[in-house]
Symmetry: C2
Subunit: 187 residues, 2 copies
DNA sequence: CCACTTACGCTACCGTCAGTAGCGTAAGTG
DNA sequence: CACTTACGCTACTGACGGTAGCGTAAGTGG
């Protein structure tokens, strides 16, 4: 037990701050090349030049690692557009574009697939990945939580379903059609 | 090698025709009680009063068993309604109701989740489970394949995503909202 | 210069589960 | 009475997520 939690300057053997970024890059690369299931924790560790035990010291499970990796990959959602319609449309296209980046779509579809059989992972996904966007959208659109929830489930459900079933991100024309469809209801 | 494939009347030790139904019931019961991952092939075999090897003699994989089970559970899609709007709406509510039956929703979400990491299962799912409904809808609505594909992916993507993330089928009010939303585009 | 702390590498391991091999047997067939 | 076919049973493999335990490099504070 440390004598004083205030003395956080104790930097003896402190975690390398660049290691997370290295692992995230290796994770997305592995998922891109080998698929979600093919990107085992062993392989990710090798790709990152890191011991597998180190991964488990920083993340409690493969799912948690992927979620953190995705949080890093997605970043903040841009709110471009004058009215609600433009905001919504640009948001949908932003999400679709992110899913199109190498590894991101497969990681997203994979982690949601794992979540079906793992309540703890569902909690992590909902709280850490989805919640921020839910709150931001709620704030931006002024819709009740229930409507935001439906809106997000339609968009992410459709995009992830396509990604999972085809292995490819949805084509632009379909994304546009999806956006148009959503706009008719939520504009 | 049989001397004549015509002499198919050779009924020596032929498969018990009621065994499939028994297995399907045991499968849905197991999935309902234990979840998709908890319903292992061993447990399904025990629940059905059957050897695990027998399951693998009839189905090449767990996914294939679940798909056949779902085909049996869904049956034919009813086309009720005078116009396209009513047909579409009743179809969506029919699907949602089926997903609400014990075990069906969990089995559906589970098998789609497995499919993300299994191209062979994706093929089975697409060809044996989805294709018939795709063709029927195409016939009924007279829309091009591309539009039917989008329509189905939005509906099934949303419903399965909800089921997978909450463990519960989507509430009626949300199903109605989803149907209304889809109708605005595809009526 | 010397304890002490902390993060990391490494090897070996566990439990679970999908899927397989091989052998014995009941039952109907000609 | 041979023959075929489907099924039960036991034992096994291989992959993968996750863990245990021990050694070590590096920076810290006295």
């Amino acid at each position: 037990m440390p004598t004083s939690s205030v003395a956080a300057s104790s930097a003896a053997g402190r975690p390398r701050s660049d290691l997370n970024a290295t692992v995230f890059a290796a994770t997305l690369r592995s998922v891109h090349e080998l698929g979600y299931a093919g990107a085992t924790m062993d392989r990710i560790a090798v790709a990152a030049g890191v011991a597998k035990t180190t991964l488990y010291r920083r993340w409690p499970s493969k799912g948690a690692l992927i979620v953190d990796c995705l949080i890093d990959a997605f970043g903040r959602m841009p709110f471009d557009g004058a009215d609600r319609g433009e905001v919504l449309s640009s948001g949908i296209h932003w999400l679709a574009a992110k899913i199109g980046e190498p590894g991101v779509g497969a990681a997203l579809a994979g982690v949601f697939s794992d979540a079906v059989n793992d309540p703890a992972l569902r909690e992590i996904l909902s709280t850490r990945l989805q919640e921020p966007y839910r709150l931001a959208l709620q704030d931006e659109l002024g819709e009740p939580p229930h409507r935001i929830r439906l809106l997000m489930d339609v968009v992410t459900g459709t995009l992830i379903h396509r990604m999972g079933m085809t292995g490819e991100p949805m084509a632009d024309a379909d994304v546009a059609a999806l956006a148009e469809m959503v706009l008719r209801t939520f504009r």
